[in-house]
């Protein structure tokens, strides 16, 4: 018998978690958009809309302090950031294209050197994913191996049912714990029919073939044709669930300052600029190529994963309408 939770109880679950001093993050209305933000109660949860930014920022914030420095009696001291006090967190209502992102990013933040900022948050987080019931023509999760009902990355996965309640599937131990700790909100029972899932209108891509094409098309007119239009902003990267490039900068003075890590984007002209002025990716052509290569080849070469969940955010956000779904389709066709 599956576990069932009603929508009212799902909101009560949020109330309980907040009372337990957990950081509860979920889709919430924020002015003209929905964002993954801390929820102060169950009523805050806004389901049924894709938040403008992905949920990666729960683990990999837009900007975070990584150390502070300063002088005490003329002596330079460096202070670590207290990561042990990062709160226990529950990400609730993450759509599959967002819930899946940490399991992609774990690899890069833990190969050889552990980025404890990311990993500590990850360790202390439980992800409650939810199957997706609405999409638009920018969505292409099914094309890149995800699905509106893909539980990948979720600890607990909710499937909306026709009667307004949710079937709960504990995917991991963390998910099981969340359910058992709040057993009264869940009940065992026969599930009603599942609500109709979103059905993105895209053909499945052959990612292996696309990668093969990328292996042999480092030089290709395709890159130039995109670069002609691309403005070199970072909108696509910043709202992407999988993009993880960052910059590190000092702010303040030698006497009192903070070193911060914050999002960066490979599309920016200065991203790879050497202090000497030499720039290996000096033109947009090379920068956009790096974006596609990193997502569909380099990351796979290194970590065996594709750096894309098909959420379509970059397509919606691109000021000049660059459509990664279209680009991948073209490559897929060319790759035969």
């Amino acid at each position: 018998m599956p576990q069932i939770i009603t929508e009212a109880n799902l909101r009560s679950l949020i109330d309980s978690l907040v009372k337990e001093s957990k950081l509860v993050v979920g889709p919430k209305e924020a002015g003209s958009m929905v964002l993954y933000q801390p929820l102060s109660n169950g009523a805050d949860l806004k389901l049924g809309a894709l938040p403008r930014r992905s949920s990666k920022e729960l683990f990999f914030p837009i900007c975070e302090d990584i150390l502070t420095f300063g002088k005490e009696d003329g002596v330079t001291k460096v202070k670590d950031v207290d990561r042990a006090s990062f709160p226990d967190a529950v990400l609730i209502g993450a759509l599959p294209c967002d819930a899946g992102s940490p399991s992609i990013l774990d690899a890069v933040f833990s190969w050889d050197y552990n980025d404890d900022f990311y990993l500590e948050r990850r360790k202390k987080s439980t992800i409650v994913g939810i199957a997706c019931t609405s999409c638009d023509d920018a969505c292409f999760c099914t094309a890149v191996g995800y699905a509106p009902d893909s539980p990948a990355g979720s600890d607990l996965f909710l499937t909306p049912l026709k009667d307004g309640s949710y079937a709960c599937n504990a995917v991991t131990e963390k998910g099981e714990k969340l359910v058992s700790a709040h057993g009264s909100l869940f009940k065992e029972g026969a599930a009603a029919d599942a609500a109709p899932l979103a059905a993105p209108d895209t053909a499945k891509l052959d990612l292996a073939k696309i990668k093969e094409w990328l292996n042999t098309h480092f030089e290709d007119p395709l890159w130039q044709s995109i670069a002609d239009v691309c403005l070199g902003c970072g909108a696509c990267a910043f709202i992407c669930p999988a993009c993880h490039c960052f910059d590190i900068n000092d702010e303040g003075t030698p006497d009192h300052g903070t070193r911060r890590k914050h999002w960066d984007a490979c599309g920016f002209g200065k991203f790879t600029n050497h202090a000497s002025g030499h720039n290996p990716r000096d033109i947009q052509n090379k920068r956009y190529r790096n974006r596609i290569m990193h997502k569909f080849k380099y990351y796979d070469d290194k970590f065996g994963k594709t750096l894309c969940t098909g959420c379509g955010r970059c397509i919606r956000a691109c000021p000049v309408g660059i459509d990664i779904g279209d680009i991948l389709n073209k490559i897929n066709v060319q790759a035969g």
């Binding site: 460096v78 207290d82 042990a84 960052f246 600029n273 790096n290």
Partner: protein, 280 residues
Amino acid sequence: MCQSKNIYLPNLATIEAIVDETPDVRTFRLVFQDENVRENFSFRAGQFAEYSAFGAGESTFCIASAPTRKGYIECCFRSVGRVTEELRRLEVGDTIGVRGPYGNSFPIEDFYGKNLVFVAGGIALPPLRTVIWNCLDLRDKFGDITIVYGARSEADLVYKRELAEWQERSDVRLVKCVDPGGNGPGFDGKVGFVPSVLEEAAPSAENTIALVCGPPIMIKFTLPVLERLGFTDDAIYTTLENRMKCGVGKCGRCNVGNVYVCKDGPVFTAGQVKAMSQEF
């Protein structure tokens, strides 16, 4: 506070000595402030570190001293950016941050019993100087050692006192050069570009490893010379530099194709470099 290591947290080091190599290139001799770090810090020739000028940020340079010399490390930098300009303002006794050592290294043990040819240009001598002293400190393990080093002008030659020392030594062949027009009266080296001076010096490729480091244009013209001299791609080593921030394979900017220079490099054979996506 019990937590795992913050990979971005530098060790503090005191500037023990400053040497001006050229008008804009400076060497720092650094001693770690923490006794434990001072005693246990070890690295291999070719590895790099992230050096902090607090308030300005971090900059990436190789560790320019030899791993065989204990108790301190040296770095050498040109003031060209925000961090290096701030570093330049620091004085003996001041504190900087050092994260590292990072990256791979020259496989020195594989070079035992072989002749070595070092080819360097301009400010790219420091990444080879660590190897040169490493090898000279273990002199009997190697055959002939040839150093071809050039800069734009006499003033731009770094490590001048060490060049003089190498010139004196009978167990090192130093061929020093400056670009045409860069020589003053009484310059005792050759006049010409590094690749052509190398070709003229014509070191034998027999049982020899070449270690090359310099600006991209020098590398471009040096590799064909080495090829003509009979060096195979796997007998030529170089070290790549790219803009880095994290130094530990996360931040995403130093990659050349799928190769992360900070983790997979910075030391590569010519064969490995040729196999990379050509985006330098």
